[in-house]
Symmetry: C2
């Protein structure tokens, strides 16, 4: 992405004042958007956080909305990759989950948790989008596509006989990924649980249940 030159071994600082690159500004912006909300965050707030002034921000970025769009694209690209891979395996390819819809669903849950943890800031932003602009509406459309694919994956697992059929698959999908997505509200990478522990807990609860089985 950042082509600094043909012979530059490391992307050293270009020239002039120390400064920030677009990536560092984006990271700080997303953190602020999540902490205060997108609309409640002004470009002035962002400038203060970075220790520079408002016009200096606009030297690196064309608009506040562009920062939002880049974060949403990051989250959507990652989640789309997870869902697409699972759907491809389902089309006949030899996946690592044995080829059953049930195995693919468990895989998608686990990989979704990994994406949520690794890209928590941008995914958090994505889950809070309301559709107030073209950028947000486009993100909501991509999200709806993801939700549809996930619902289809659940429906496949039910049709396969692996999941209980006394709850509508569409409802199962909403609740299952509602639980997964709720991660962004409280998970902290430096907290008590690592990614595998959370993914394991979610799959244990969702697929095997909380209650002890007397069998």
């Amino acid at each position: 992405m950042t082509t600094t030159g043909p012979a530059g071994p490391a992307p050293r600082r270009r020239r002039g004042r120390p400064g920030y690159d677009q990536t560092a500004i984006l990271r700080a912006a997303v953190e602020l958007f999540n902490r205060k909300g997108y609309d409640a965050t002004s470009v002035g707030d962002l400038a203060k956080e970075l220790g520079l002034t408002k016009p200096a921000i606009y030297h690196h970025v064309t608009s506040k909305e562009q920062l939002l769009g880049q974060a949403l694209d990051d989250a959507l690209d990652e989640l789309t990759a997870v869902v697409t891979e699972a759907s491809r395996e389902g089309a006949g390819g030899a996946g690592n989950a044995g080829g059953t819809a049930y195995g693919r669903l468990r895989d998608v849950v686990r990989r979704s948790v990994e994406v949520l943890v690794a890209h928590q800031p941008s995914v958090t932003l994505l889950l809070r989008v309301r559709g107030n602009s073209e950028v947000e509406l486009a993100a909501l459309e991509r999200r709806r596509w993801l939700d549809d694919r996930l619902a289809a994956l659940v429906a496949d697992a039910v049709a396969e006989g692996a999941l209980r059929d006394d709850v509508p698959p569409a409802l199962v999908s909403r609740l299952l990924f509602g639980m997964v997505n709720s991660l962004v509200e409280w998970y902290r990478p430096d907290g008590a649980y690592d990614t595998a522990a959370v993914a394991g807990a979610i799959t244990a609860i969702a697929f095997d249940g909380l209650a002890r089985h007397e069998c």
Copy 2:
């Protein structure tokens, strides 16, 4: 609440222009806050939605933030009642759930779903609060208190031996009520599922699991 007079059988319109009372304005405000976000909603938007002008709003309401605070209090009062009742039953009273922590936990989940459905607009608003003002910080504090009581209830059920103990109770609590709370993002009262169906699906998934048991 609205004492219009000593002999008024129904709260007829007081006098003068048709007008709105504070309750109708609050309902419209919360609906807008949820659709566009609190910060993205201006008092002018609210006035347009109600078919009057901005200053007319301020005749009934002292500030935009007061509307937010009233909605948050509504949600918090309802949720506090659910949690308090369950904790009281646990203190020795004869609850309708057999007196076990497991039964009380199932009850709290079901009643939480009922509150989320019956008070969806205000609960939705509560779940999106970021802490940007004194009103929001106070709401977050009350929310934290609720979360602590729910976590204690889960811990009781684990200690009782009714729930699996290979997942930390605090993690179980977060995920379980994360699933419950995710309702507000998609549930519609006129949709395909009624309250009992959703509550049943959540308890079935969370306690018994999605997978068919081969026993």
